[in-house]
Symmetry: C3
Subunit: 423 residues, 3 copies
């Protein structure tokens, strides 16, 4: 097969699967918007469109260079803006003689940029759901800027950028730890700084259930994410220019699908003993848990293992939901359970299922965790000490939609008065 054909296949793969990962931003938005109470359903939409926009610009301004350009062990290039190679510019300007040099790169550099950019947006999406209903809008955007411009890119430099963890042969195909772990740690740090929602815990310490505003909207979000995950994992083959790539991508698709399905079934069946009832929201989060878990190694585990990894990922997710609740860490959508806990499981499971090095996998989990959690915590604390990270009690009670936007999510609908049993 000619190099030109390979170039087109590789580039097309980045674009089409990258587009599908971009679509996951809508999935997070629907999942989160349907999970929060109606009084915060508009602000969470704003946060999600905003975080995607901020991530797009930040990764263009600085993030990609930090992550991929001239990476040593720890960090790439501290330089502004990223653009096509001179050869690409020449080629699209009509200088056909540049074609050979462009082709030799194997893919269009900006198609890769696009594919990597939608991944950083995914990491940022994880944070918004966990901290919903009480984090300040502009503080959230400020954190998002740091996460997408600096924190995630540095983790990425260590791994996909070719840094020290990559040199140790740390395996994380599409980012159980790199994307989902980083986002999960950033969310967890935020949860500890921001604290639980007003009224989430009763005086006796038990947790109150807050009603989701729309279960069908949550379900739509999960389907969007599942659909998008084929782009997320499939595209992470990073090439389609050979028969081997096409075969590997097919295996990735099947493993991804089996893991999501197994995650749902396992979480649903075990939701009764673990969460106390047949729990749809638990089952839906189990889909995410299963998908996150398979993400570290969908290219190398065999299909039956994908079912096991996904099922355990789903169960880990709902067990972690219960654990966080017991610890009074108030994660509105169960983002930390699904992305962080199931991501840790998935990263370690690669070494069990496909013979990677357990110690290296564990080291990667711990190192990324220490860095992403630590730096996120510092940023959240800095925001807390300066502009504040949490809305006032009054805003929280009335909802962020009316108070921060002067807009209700469902203005014409008559809503139940909130059950404020102990407030």
């Amino acid at each position: 097969m000619g190099e030109e054909v390979q170039f087109i296949f590789n580039t097309f793969s980045f674009l089409i699967w990258g587009g599908l990962v971009m679509w996951m931003a809508a999935g997070f938005t629907m999942l989160e918007s349907g999970s929060v109470r109606t009084k915060n359903a508009a602000v969470i939409c704003l946060k999600n469109v905003g975080l995607y926009s901020v991530a797009s610009i930040a990764f263009y301004l600085i993030g990609y260079n930090l992550m991929y350009v001239d990476v040593g062990s720890w960090i790439g290039s501290v330089r502004f803006l990223y653009g096509p190679s001179a050869d690409e510019v020449a080629l699209v300007s009509g200088q056909a003689e540049a074609a050979a040099a462009v082709t030799a790169n194997g893919y269009s550099v900006m198609s890769d940029w696009f594919f990597q950019m939608v991944f950083v947006a995914t990491a940022a999406s994880i944070v918004s759901g966990a901290l919903a209903e009480r984090v300040k809008l502009w503080s959230f955007f400020a954190f998002t800027l740091v996460l997408t411009a600096v924190i995630y890119p540095i983790v990425g430099a260590w791994t996909w950028g070719g840094g020290w963890l990559n040199q140790l042969d740390f395996k994380d195909f599409a980012g159980s730890t790199i994307v989902h772990g980083t986002g999960g740690w950033a969310a967890l740090a935020g949860l500890l700084v921001v604290g639980p929602r007003r009224g989430k815990y009763r005086r006796d310490g038990t947790a109150r259930t807050t009603p989701p505003s729309s279960v069908p909207t949550v379900t739509l979000g999960v389907f969007i994410l599942w659909f998008g995950w084929f782009g997320f994992n499939g595209g992470s083959q990073l090439a389609l220019g050979s028969v081997a790539d096409a075969v590997a991508m097919s295996h990735v698709f099947v493993n991804t699908n089996l893991a999501g399905a197994a995650g749902f079934i396992a979480a649903l069946v075990l939701s009764r003993p673990i969460l106390g009832r047949v729990d749809l929201l638990g089952g839906l989060n189990g889909v995410i848990g299963g998908l996150v878990a398979i993400t570290a190694g969908p290219d190398i585990v065999q299909h039956p293992w994908a079912i096991v990894i996904g099922a355990v990922g789903g169960v880990v997710c709902i067990a972690a939901m219960r654990l966080l609740e017991a610890l009074k860490v108030d994660d509105v959508v169960g983002a930390v359970p699904a992305h962080l806990f199931s991501g840790v499981w998935g990263t370690l499971a690669v070494s069990i299922a496909a013979g990677g090095h357990f110690g290296v996998q564990l080291l990667g989990v711990v190192a990324v965790g220490a860095f992403a959690f630590g730096l996120s915590w510092l940023v959240w604390m800095a925001l807390e000490k300066t502009v504040g990270v949490r809305v006032s009690d009054r805003v929280e009670q009335l909802g962020q939609d009316v108070t921060e936007l002067g807009l209700e999510a469902y203005p014409e609908f008559v809503l139940m008065p909130e059950q404020d049993d102990e407030l």
Copy 2:
């Protein structure tokens, strides 16, 4: 063109169009969730995510083997699990010498598995909508397991698997009968065993209209299905590795789109005489009817015929909605009209529009109908005699969401008390 390039095109086609068919699961979910009353809108979400998960696992465990592996006239291989060929495993493990043998297959075997799997999920989706609002959750899943593991795969073995109907040259390109008919017959059998919803028919025999919970959600579902249908029909070319395949796929896209559009217009315009008013839900179901109708032959009918087939498909659909209502068969979303009735029309229309053998087409319709309906009826009856298939009157009155899940779909919204005029 080299074999390798063909291999990649064929495989990529399975993956991208298969992904789009997976997305149809979200379309069914939205269509059904918006069509049922709010008190059952969460359970129908659960059923849809669950049926997709069950279909994924069941088709992996046994279904694909029954349908495609060593098919004689009637049935494939009774064997557990399906996986990549030894050559594929060798290739992705780095043994480059396996490439030639892999390439000779023309596509990655697991990409084909993925594409076929999302089709069985589609068939199962048809059942959930028809039986909404009164079928027991776990009985529905049990039926789904049999449908996706056994019933659909055997119908598939007769046809796409190379069995007796295929040998007679039965034409059903993307499954007007094989997918939509099988799903429709399974739903009809369920409808007869489960019976109409409490209060659907007044004492004088007239039918009550049950309000859809959200018309925009239904509309979203129809758009998702229409979008996904390009994958469903386009991908059913099963190859993209030649100019002829690319041309055929283009014709399929255009026919699919024209049929959906014609189905909508015809159903909307004729909804006044047939259904008594300009009926949006009838028009939307007409889209589905038009799409189902063209599905049997989008590769071989000419474009003007696609408009005719789609328009008639839309009208057949709304006429069948009225017929079922008169027969007191209570299909909540009109799934049997759209998928079974319009599917029969489409399967027969191939022989009218493109010169297939009418007798063979009819035989296919009847044989699949007898088998799928008969076996489905037995399964539904077995479930009825053991665990029961229908929720109690109290559950039906209160809704399955609260009673089976302890969760409302829209917990914060104030809802109308139900108009229980004669209950």
Copy 3:
């Protein structure tokens, strides 16, 4: 690379990206359905499914021929129906010897038809949102028929069809003016004929805000549009059969994404001074404004320029929202600001950012505007003088859903009585 491979790449590109543009129809539907009041949320769904259907049929019956076949300076062929070439028919009928002639065309003709058809549907979608809540259903469909069969195709003939504007080297890559401008002008003409909604302006001339029925639904619509825009702009490269095409498509993706992100951020940040508050709906419309603005030249502007063009596009959009309100032009969803105003900016910006000829760009904007606005106004006036374009006061007060469809969008939900302060 062989011609056959190029043919497949080009055709596949039309199909996959055209499919994604079709999906934008769902985006417009959600955006509009969520933006109108609940009493009109079902009719706007009907209008959107209907306009897509009408556009599909009209462009098949006559539009494509007018736009692309034997175009002189002003208009293509006045002839009914469009279909595959005789060579394509022969090839898919099994005559392999036709392959060479088919291949020489570079792509399947019907894949191009499909891609062009979804663009005309996009233009029509713009009109429905602007005129929501008071335009008569069947008058709207009648206008849509003329727009998609005649008006848009003639504008298209001047430009993409090879007519006089194209000969002057007017640059409008994916249709800032050709698609979004034409739709915007058609909407503006309709707005002037139909007039503002009853009660939109108080006696003192100030505008009342009408509540959107569902903010999350609007947000979903914007995400669908953003996702679909990669197909809209990326596919407008019209080829993927060379390295240069793949590179150009990658640049288009990145510019499209940056412009949407910048449009959101700029519109959100400036919404406080311009619209009086941090305005989510303004920000969301800013995404559309940014995307429309980049659409004229995403292939030739450099990435930093995409940020500038998108940001200005977003700001132009919200400034125009305020301007129209002051002029008492009642555009329900801000379609004219986003598609027409930002489209004008984007079309002119090409000459600023990439050295096109400003005079020609301006001429294109003015000529398309004069023709599209003028002819649209005549059609709207003709409809007004015959069947009428506006529903009665009573219908407007009760909502079109109940009066024209006998159906509510959310029948079970209890809604607020409308605040009819001065009516």
